[in-house]
């Protein structure tokens, strides 16, 4: 395996995302993957690890600590560069859009690094899709609860059955060209106001 000798450090406070990334890298044949979630003394941790590639989440303020590695490369012994190739702006764009940044030790061949960065980008994208879906599911759950409460209010105050209450909400939504959740929300709000 051509990647077997490479070591990668993942700096991410989001442990779920870091785990997804780690799994991808390991399945690609990279055996030396280290997760760093505690960024205190990050520079020291990285100097001790001496990874070939550092993958960091863009929201991590410690990116500036990594930039110091350019400047203290005499201390670190190995110069560090950002991204595979500074001239490869499409890869930089894709990485930043995905929310990830990769720092690569100079001297590593571009073709060895590219799959790692591509992997990080796709895993970060997959994670953010997962987050979006989770968020959507959470919203749908919250919306269902509001509709349930609105139905309950109608059943109690208008002596409707559950089916009649839902039909009333839907009818109003259709005639007003609004979403059922919005109608349900106004029923709940009105009930609060009217006591």
């Amino acid at each position: 395996m051509q990647n077997a000798g490479l070591s990668v450090a993942i700096v991410d406070e989001n442990q779920m995302r870091a785990a997804i990334l780690e799994e991808g890298l390991v399945s690609a044949g990279i055996s030396q993957v280290t997760l760093i979630s505690d960024t205190t003394n990050l520079l020291r941790q990285l100097v001790d690890l001496a990874p070939d590639v550092v993958i960091i989440d863009l929201e991590n303020p410690s990116r500036d600590v990594l930039e110091q590695m350019f400047q203290v490369s005499r201390v670190v012994a190995r110069p560090v560069a950002m991204f595979v190739d500074r001239s490869d702006s499409s890869m930089i764009q894709a990485a930043v859009d995905a929310g990830v940044s990769a720092y690569v030790v100079d001297g590593l061949r571009k073709e060895r690094i590219k799959p790692i960065v591509d992997m990080a980008i796709s895993r970060f994208n997959a994670f953010s899709r997962l987050q979006d879906e989770l968020e959507k599911a959470r919203n749908e759950l919250a919306e269902r609860k509001v509709i349930e409460r609105a139905k309950g209010i109608l059943m109690k105050t208008r002596k409707m059955s559950e089916e009649e209450a839902y039909a009333a909400l839907r009818r109003l939504a259709m005639s007003d060209n609004r979403r059922i959740i919005d109608i349900a929300q106004s029923v709940v709000t009105a009930a609060k106001l009217l006591g």
């Binding site: 303020p61 990116r63 500036d64 600590v65 950002m82 940044s101």
Partner: protein, 418 residues
């Protein structure tokens, strides 16, 4: 891109610091809207993100460390897209804070007599601590700053070297993100740090540190944050840039007015901007710092300037001073071409073209001898009502931008061509 109300929308990145003020005020107090702009201020977590997202076109402009665009144009560090600085956002605003333990060591080294914020006395006390620790076989002090291309890095190095402390040999300089500074100090990972407000005052309030000196005491009226844009964007969108500069100069004047301080502190305290108690933010704005927890506030002259003393003018001598320190510490080579690249990063020509017709006072020169003004001094300007300075360095040295080589050669401690 024009917005639904016809205003042009600009995306601008900023870091939560008191010196992002002109951008916040331009947006919140209608100065941008009056110029037909809608500012979309995007809070970022690192200077690296600010630079990269500006380079990639995610941002039209950014709140940036004054040396950062210079480093980009010198092609040192990462991502070398040419940048331009048409306006300075503030002068001053930083301080150096020592942990309570280091402060106790410094006081003991000074024979118990140490107070105030005088950089000379503080530097001597720290140098004594460094020597004592070395003699006792203890590790040297670790000092935090925010980025290798920051005024903080050069201020610390300038101050340490003036006290005979070699910043690369006698202490450990490390980068710590501002929000982590106080925690790093509490945990004993750093013995001191140099950072912008409100982070020094927050460390003081947390009881972990004592402010020992300020940027204004080291170099009165030295540049701190700038407005940075891509050089090609400045050429392609001159009218939009002009509108932004007009809005920012008006915002800076509003922010400088003492009558607006309370309102400004409340504005910055908003969770969208700093999310820090307004009373803490007010210290920097009023030039009155509390040095240690429970202490009386002390007046720091010119602690943070937004508009006074031509604070917004992009002096090319500031860019050259930054370059001189980059050469001094081995970050770049001393060549005529590099010197020229550094100087031309700052664009007084754009400032003059846009703000001259607005009646903003313009100096006749684009460079000045830094450190030469010992008292407020009226200077030649197109409007005849510009007063500059004092702008001295604490060690009394002067920086003549026409003789950068001799200035750099004059330092006993340096890492040139290392």
């Amino acid at each position: 891109m024009a917005g639904p109300d016809g205003a042009r929308e600009l995306r601008i990145g900023f870091i939560p610091l008191v010196d992002c003020t002109p951008l916040v005020v331009a947006h919140e107090r209608g100065f941008a809207a009056a110029e037909g702009l809608r500012l979309n201020l995007v809070r970022e977590t690192s200077w690296a993100n600010i630079r990269d997202r500006l380079v990639l076109g995610h941002f039209d402009a950014a709140h940036m460390l004054a040396p950062m665009p210079v480093s980009a144009n010198l092609r040192i560090g990462s991502l070398h897209t040419p940048m331009s600085v048409p306006l300075v956002l503030n002068l001053g605003g930083n301080a150096i804070t020592a942990s309570t333990a280091l402060w106790a060591e410094m006081k003991a080294a000074a024979g118990g007599e140490l107070s105030g914020t005088d950089p000379r006395g503080m530097g001597e006390a720290l140098a004594a601590v460094v020597r004592a620790r070395s003699a006792a076989g203890r590790p040297p002090p670790t000092i935090g700053m925010v980025h290798p291309f920051s005024a903080h890095n050069y201020e610390l190095r300038y101050w340490l070297a003036a006290a005979g402390v070699d910043p690369d040999e006698d202490v450990r300089l490390v980068v710590v993100p501002p929000p982590f500074m106080a925690d790093a100090m509490a945990a004993g990972q750093v013995d001191a740090f140099c950072v912008g407000e409100p982070w020094n005052s927050l460390a003081v309030e947390a009881g972990v540190g004592r402010i020992i000196t300020t940027k204004a005491a080291l170099w009165r009226q030295g540049p701190e944050k700038v407005l940075s844009v891509r050089a090609d964007w400045a050429e392609q969108a001159p009218e939009t840039l002009a509108a932004l500069l007009r809005a920012l100069v008006k915002a800076a004047a509003w922010a400088e007015d003492a009558a607006n301080r309370e309102e400004l502190a409340a504005l910055l305290a908003d969770p969208r901007y700093l999310g820090v108690d307004a009373g803490i933010i007010g210290r920097a704005l009023s030039h009155r710092l509390v040095l240690e927890r429970g202490g009386e506030p002390v007046e720091v002259a010119d602690f943070l300037l937004f508009e006074r003393s031509a604070a917004t003018f992009p002096w090319q001598s500031h860019a050259l001073w930054i370059y001189s320190q980059m050469v001094r510490w081995g970050q770049t080579a001393e060549t005529a071409e590099n010197q020229d690249r550094a100087r031309r990063t700052y664009r007084p020509d754009i400032y003059r073209r846009v703000l001259g017709p607005e009646g903003v006072a313009l100096p006749n020169a684009s460079m000045k001898v830094e450190g030469a003004l010992k008292a407020p001094t009226p200077v030649a300007s197109s409007t005849g009502r510009m007063v500059l300075g004092p702008d001295g360095f604490f060690d009394g040295l002067e920086f003549d931008p026409d003789d950068v080589e001799r200035y750099i050669a004059g330092f006993a401690i340096h890492k040139r061509n290392a």
